[in-house]
């Protein structure tokens, strides 16, 4: 770890914003890039709130000032980054394109970390001059509160890249579990079909969303229940990931359920839009 360490995050959606909050909260400078100025404005507010949330939950060191946050529309601003975390939309072609553009800008050997909930890392490696620099992470949301990260080592990921990323995650106060490359890795392979089935249970009127979550929490020890988790992930992202998994695994359990697709059509995407399976407006109404 050098003193000049700085992290670039690509994509100011839910995950990019949360990961930027984590990096800044742990005292490292972070450059957040997006193609949409409004998304960056919103991200700056969300990061301010996220830093307060982390403090509220005791998830940041009290004696450390946050790292500087720089937001930009220009990918060329990440030239000096010592690690890049790509957290754009879960579309494999778009990710491959942005990773290739990034590789052309940063120093050779800089770890390129693709944050994804399910896209096999090696599918993205072909677009890169140095596939060894590419590695996957699957941060959970909110990244600044959840201490564990799933790390995906692709068949071509180099030992140096693995060591460098594990060291960065340690610096960020996270624990890592390294797994091999596969659609959905471990967590999404298991979680996403469960959430999809939970939505089907609600659609069939077997139980309300509240009761599904209450049972999974109270009987099976799930921290919040699958449908609160869906709202936290973002239902549009969940549908994108289910489509990625369905196309690669073939199992019908991964085909996005009608209720999830309906919610996306209605813009009820979860916490980020104020409503999903639950209502998140900061009023009693």
């Amino acid at each position: 770890m050098t003193e000049n360490e700085s992290v670039a995050v690509l994509g100011a959606g839910v995950m990019g914003t949360g990961i930027s909050t984590l990096v800044a909260g742990q005292g490292l400078p972070v450059t957040l890039v997006d193609v949409d100025a409004a998304a960056l404005d919103l991200a700056r507010r969300e990061i301010r709130n996220g830093l307060r949330h982390a403090q509220l939950m005791g998830a940041v060191p009290a004696d450390r000032d946050p790292g500087a946050l720089h937001t930009t529309l220009s990918l060329s601003d990440i030239r000096k980054a010592t690690a890049v975390i790509e957290a754009i939309t879960e579309l494999p072609d778009l990710k491959a394109k942005v990773l290739a553009e990034t590789a052309a800008i940063v120093d050779p050997g800089t770890p390129l970390i693709s944050n994804t909930s399910g896209i096999p890392i090696d599918e993205l490696a072909d677009s890169l001059p140095n596939p060894g620099a590419l590695i996957g992470t699957h941060f959970m949301n909110p990244s600044y509160l959840i201490p564990m990260v799933e790390v995906i080592r692709g068949p071509r990921t180099s030992d140096e890249t693995v060591a460098s990323v594990l060291s960065l995650l340690t610096r960020l106060g996270r624990r890592a579990v390294v797994v091999r490359d596969a659609p959905g890795f471990v967590t999404s392979r298991l979680l996403h079909p469960m959430i999809n089935d939970a939505a089907r249970v609600v659609a069939a009127s077997t139980a309300s969303a509240e009761d599904v979550d209450a049972l999974m929490h109270g009987c099976l020890g799930h921290p919040t229940g699958p449908l609160r988790t869906a709202d936290l992930i973002g239902i549009d992202n969940l549908v994108d990931s289910l489509n990625v998994l369905h196309a690669r695994i073939g199992d019908e359990r991964y085909r996005p359920s009608e209720l999830l697709l309906d919610k996306v059509r209605r813009g009820e995407l979860g916490r980020k839009t104020g409503r999903g399976f639950y209502d998140y407006k900061e009023t009693a109404e």
């Binding site: 307060r52 949330h53 509220l56 939950m57 509240e210 929490h217 919040t224 609160r228 009023t283 009693a284």
Partner: protein
């Protein structure tokens, strides 16, 4: 404490209870630990902060941003009164 102050004190607690009830579908007691009893999660904690700031026009920063201030309706109401510069509920001012 005057009757008017008494009413105002009660209304802070009532407003918080109304919010928690709307979000959790459970009406909490004023001294119930919302986190220990499973009503509140780490995500709901931040919603409580934003709700208090918007509803009562206060800013919760620095050392006040600690979970202990949000564990019960009572504790949140006390924080709001303190940040509004109102005297403690037990005083006779």
């Amino acid at each position: 404490m005057t009757a008017e102050q008494q009413a105002r004190t009660e209304s802070i607690e009532d407003e918080i209870i109304r919010f928690v009830t709307a979000k959790t579908k459970v009406a909490p007691d004023v001294d119930q630990d919302l986190f220990a009893t499973g009503l509140a999660t780490s995500m709901f904690a931040m919603q409580l902060v934003v709700f208090l700031e918007q509803t009562f026009a206060v800013e919760i920063v620095g050392k006040d941003l600690q979970l202990v201030n949000f564990r019960t309706v009572e504790a949140m109401a006390a924080l709001v009164r303190r940040l509004r510069g109102e005297t403690a509920v037990t005083g006779d001012a």
